[in-house]
């Protein structure tokens, strides 16, 4: 399996290291020539304003948007969540393909960043680190809420799209990435079955 990681800005190397630990190959996407067949896509943490701008200017928006809409498993962490959200409070919509409303910098500035533990449906209790993170103000019809912290939605899934407002790539716990790799493996199997 090969996972593409959007590597325009932010903490993409941390995702790459996590996938390596799980024995999964990955490649970085920095320009349109880097876009090739993949089993899953990771949208990392960083600044969503920077990534949104570069996605457009480096001609990555169209091909990636098309792949996501066609069912490619995608995992968005923090800024990645914002990129996928249909509506963004305090920011601009990027791909806008997930039925959620994201509130940017929902916990305030850096002094509001925190660590906690929380229950995530399908996984269990996991460490969660929020860095100037967003939360999901509202999850629409098809978006399934997977975790809440102090009443706010911090993880959700809609079909092929998995988003969390925290940073599993910064913690030693590998379960969330394994969960995403399972989504990618299932998608790959279905694709192969259809081809036969």
């Amino acid at each position: 399996m090969k996972i593409g990681i959007l590597a325009l800005q932010g903490a993409f190397i941390e995702h790459k290291t996590m996938l390596e630990r799980l024995g999964c190959g990955s490649f970085e996407i920095r320009k349109k020539e880097d876009v090739k067949a993949m089993d899953g896509l990771i949208l990392p943490g960083g600044e969503s304003t920077v990534m949104t701008k570069l996605l457009h200017e480096l001609a990555l928006y169209e091909p990636l948007s098309c792949m996501i809409r066609n069912g490619l498993p995608v995992f968005g962490t923090c800024a990645g969540l914002i990129l996928l959200a249909k509506d963004v409070i305090g920011g601009k919509t990027c791909f806008g393909c997930m039925n959620i409303t994201a509130r940017r910098n929902a916990y305030g500035r850096q002094l509001g960043s925190f660590r906690t533990k929380g229950y995530m449906a399908g996984i269990g209790t996991i460490p969660m680190v929020f860095i100037r993170g967003p939360y999901i103000e509202h999850a629409g019809d098809r978006a399934e809420v997977l975790a809440r912290v102090e009443g706010h939605i911090v993880a959700a899934r809609q079909d092929n799209m998995l988003v969390v407002s925290f940073h599993p790539e910064l913690m030693p716990d590998e379960r969330l990435h394994s969960f995403f790799l399972d989504m990618a493996a299932k998608h790959r199997a279905e694709k192969t079955a259809r081809a036969i």
Binding site: G46, E47, T49, K53, L58, R109, L111
Partner: protein, 291 residues
């Protein structure tokens, strides 16, 4: 400062990686920087080139001006304090700044001690010319390091020198035998535990950016290829002919720092770069402040 807070502060620096942090002096400039793709802005009263030209004592900016910039943009806002001036740092923490730069660009307030950054919740970035300086700042609580370069000159030579020196010293420590680490720590005047960390990991325990003298997309690409994890641009942007355009192209150069074709395309027609001063022509070497 509790350990969790320090980890969170190192984590924010990780989120800035692969990005460009731009010096701005007004909310309008901050907006231009954000729209051009800055991953954070550094709020300061005068950019380094003007500080150099004006001379005199240079201090922390007016908190009201910093607040104006915080309100103008959604990305992290950093601001500078004088070396050793912990009261300025307390003030910046009180206005909820995202990162403090304890900076040699301002006039040092203390010629012996840096700020004890472990006493703060807010994160600090500090400059370093070599590995010893970097590790001393980390021991004092810095959660991010940058080269010192020579701010306000538009001359990249010093940032290159600092980055090369740091990397060479890291490689050297990584290659030492276990029982040679004690002497290395003594020579460098840094804590043994940090020397051990470098020996085992062959990298700094915090994110390391390039700063000082970056004026073109090629300068940014050079620093990234030399191992910087991101770039600060000070006078290079708002002292140039077309700031918005130059800023945007430097951002793209940092993302695609090893693709010469892309770099060629975005280096075209950028207008006039900042004039710059050669290091031999400078009267004050700011990088010599605070070791």
């Amino acid at each position: 400062m509790e350990q969790t807070r320090y980890e969170l502060n190192k984590n924010l620096a990780q989120m800035l990686k692969g990005g460009v942090i731009m010096d701005v002096t007004t909310p309008e400039q901050a907006k231009i920087a954000e729209e051009a793709g800055a991953c954070a802005v550094m709020a300061l009263e005068r950019i380094p080139a003007d500080i150099r030209a004006a001379g005199g004592v240079s201090r922390m900016s007016d908190p009201k001006m910093i607040r104006g910039i915080q309100e103008a943009v959604s990305i992290p806002v950093m601001a500078k304090v004088r070396i050793g001036h912990f009261a300025e740092a307390q003030i910046l923490q009180a206005i909820d700044i995202d990162y403090i730069d304890e900076s040699e660009v301002l006039s040092p307030a203390d010629d012996v001690y840096h700020i004890d950054k472990t006493k703060f919740d807010v994160p600090f970035v500090c400059g370093a010319k070599d590995l010893g300086e970097a590790l001393r700042r980390i021991a004092e609580g810095a959660s991010m390091i940058r080269t010192k370069g020579e701010p306000g000159t538009g001359d990249i030579v010093q940032a290159v020198r600092h980055m090369r020196k740091m990397n060479s010293e890291i490689r050297c420590l990584a290659g030492l035998a276990e029982d040679e680490l004690f002497e290395a720590a003594k020579q460098m005047q840094v804590p043994l535990e940090l020397v051990r960390y470098i020996h085992e990991n062959a990298k700094l325990p915090v994110v390391n950016f390039a700063a000082g003298g970056v004026a073109t997309p090629a300068d940014a690409a050079l620093m990234m290829q030399l191992g910087a994890e991101g770039v600060f641009v000070g006078s290079g942007i708002f002292k140039s002919g077309d700031p918005a355009r130059r800023a945007a192209e430097i951002v793209k150069a940092v993302t695609n720092f090893s693709d010469a074709k892309i770099l060629a395309a975005l280096s075209e027609d950028l207008g006039e770069a900042m004039v710059g001063i050669n290091e031999q022509e400078i009267e004050i070497l700011m990088a010599e402040r605070g070791k």
